[in-house]
């Protein structure tokens, strides 16, 4: 209940406030989105596994976003930004996939 409420509030805030994203941060936004999705899928899977922990969820979400953005930032400074963001997207994408598969097994028992 509160989970759905939180999501809805977040979307509404994002839509209505429409914060002006600074140009310096724009390149890291897609990475942050992927990291956030990874945290959400991990949380849902943990919930279905029965081992969900709110603190772990929050911390993993924040650290995912920050670390992913940092890696891409470092890559940009070294001139390999696009390669490193590809790497981050691949790793997070694999995790999202495996978590989604686990969720699917829980929900459909298949």
């Amino acid at each position: 209940m509160i989970a759905v409420l939180g999501l809805v509030i977040g979307v509404v805030v994002g839509l209505f406030v429409q914060p002006e994203v600074p140009d310096a941060v724009v390149p890291y936004l897609p990475i942050a989105v992927v990291a956030a999705l990874d945290a959400v899928f991990g949380g849902v899977r943990a919930m279905l596994d029965g081992i969900f922990n709110d603190k772990v969820f929050i911390v993993s979400f924040l650290s995912n976003v920050v670390v992913a953005a940092l890696i891409v930032f470092l890559g940009d400074q070294l001139g390999v930004g696009s390669q490193l963001s590809t790497g981050v997207v691949v790793v997070l994408g694999i995790r999202i996939f495996s978590n989604a598969a686990a969720i699917r097994r829980h929900v459909f028992r298949a």
Binding site: G6, L37, I51, D54, V56, V59, F97
Partner: protein
Amino acid sequence: MSLLTNVMDHGLDEGYAEAAAARGGDRDSRIPGTARGLLTLGAGLALVGVVVTIGAVNARKAEPTLAKERDALIHRINDSNASADRLQQQVQDLRRRVDSTQQQALASGDADPAALAGAVGLAEVTGPGIKLILEDAAGTGAGGNVDPRAGQGFSNSGRLRDRDLQLVVNGLWESGAEAISINGQRLTALSAIRAAGEAVLVDNRPLVPPYNVQALGDGPKLVGAFESHMAGQYLRLLQEKYGIKSTISAQKKLTLPAAVGVTLRTAQPATPEVSPTASPTAGQPASPSATAPSATASAGAGESPSASPSPSARPSAQSTGKRPPSGSAKTTTAHTPTATTSGSSSAGTGAARP
């Protein structure tokens, strides 16, 4: 591989398992029970929602900007293409006008035969001009008593070569010279500057240094144009590097002799209603075409069609006339004298500049 397996196996954050183990293994904690836990979860999910929404909004905002930039670029390309087309059209129009004006002038009899003869080198001409003396470097044994036919090529780099002279002559034409002679040899459309042995030949007559190049034109202006031309800089380089001396001076009055032996054997003067494509390249300022050898001209000044270093177009005269005795392949015709009314021919840059 182990890296990939690691990524695949640890899809779930290990923190969850650790926290569960620390709690004592009660595995029914699906959602947090306490109010604080619920609030944290809600706040976290709200944060996720904000991040994802901002990402989506940003991606949508960036789209029209990119499209706008692309449209602007396409617009600029189209504009440039259109203006290039316009300029091309202008070039063609002007070229056509030049051609028709030329034909008119020829047809109306303005073309005085004497003036034409002077322009193409068949008559003596006089007027202001410049004198350019080129001397081989000291100590090259080229005093004037050297047998020009002896020796094996230009063994000594201190000597002026045929291609140096070609460059100088071409530079003079491009600087606006109207008539040129070298050591009293008038250059015509059929002239060749070439080498045989160690000698430089102009129209198959060996030259003896020092080389005295005379050109008619607006003296001081011609001097300035030539000095700033590539050929003038080349001469300075020759002087610095090889000690080949060159002195250029403007003259109030020079008289250039007529060329001898300019006979067209097989070429026929083209009829005035020649097609406007007679000057197909922009680099060839239309010369008095009634007398200039056209594409089929064949000349007594025998020459082998070698790769010509001449930077601009020249009347392509295939030699069917008598061959000179020498077998040297270094051959180049000089420029067509362009006795246009403008005085400055500026060959190679196109006559029809918009």
